[in-house]
């Protein structure tokens, strides 16, 4: 999966999770439902967390993009070696995705530490993909 496709997919996961949670909460509020997702503090925390992370992503992407766009290269200059504009998107998104799925896993598997391996493995895989793509961006072959 290419870097752009991976980034887009993780953003879509965050937006999909947010849409589900917000729709459920607003539906209950509009219809005065007896059971509301807003009564579950964990899902409210997930919703607020995803919103905060996406807002942070927007800010960081704009900042890095401006830095990249306003940079000029003269003949013989070396290009940026930090790769900041490529790191910021993937680096923010891994937090968004683990945040959104953590609550879902805990709801299904409970707080039992025996099932914590699922979350741990998911986080490890995401961090691995993030690190790999950040390195590939520096190497000059972002795939």
């Amino acid at each position: 999966m290419g870097q752009i496709k991976l980034t887009t997919n993780i953003v879509m996961i965050a937006l999909f999770s947010l849409a589900i949670l917000v729709f459920a909460i607003n539906f209950a509020g509009d219809n005065n439902s007896e059971v509301s997702l807003a009564d579950d503090s964990e899902f409210v925390t997930i919703k607020d967390g995803v919103i905060t992370e996406l807002s942070s992503l927007k800010t960081n992407v704009n900042t890095s993009s401006d830095t990249f766009i306003t940079t000029t290269l003269e003949a013989g200059d070396q290009s940026a070696s930090t790769g900041g504009q490529f790191k910021v998107t993937i680096g923010n998104l891994k937090d968004v995705m683990t945040f959104a799925t953590r609550g879902a896993f805990q709801k299904i598997f409970g707080q039992d530490t025996s099932f914590g391996i699922f979350l741990t493995t998911l986080s490890v895989i995401i961090v691995f993909m993030v690190t790999l793509y950040a390195w590939k961006a520096w190497r000059g072959n972002p795939d």
Binding site: L21, L37, I108
Partner: protein, 109 residues
Amino acid sequence: MALYNQPNFTDGIDGVIIQVAKEVPSFLNGFLLFIFGVVFFGGSLAQKSKTGYADYPMWSVMASMAIFIITLVLTIKEGMINLETLGIVVSITILSGVWFYLSKGRGEI
């Protein structure tokens, strides 16, 4: 002594469903599981028979959305759905979305 109170038609057929749901708490959970199974297995098997390929993540999302909407509607009436069931349905929907967006079968061969 009866195992449970049998429903009556005083309040109509919808009242019967509500009484059954209150007497047998797992009734609506089983109903939701049935809807999920029908959409998921029916859709994926039909797609596989027609095209030779079944997009399981997509059908998982569609089945999850179906039970999600049904669950939301059932939360309006007291005693039908509890908060735990709603939380599990929302969790399954989110995880189906994660599986869908991380799969490579979306419109691809």
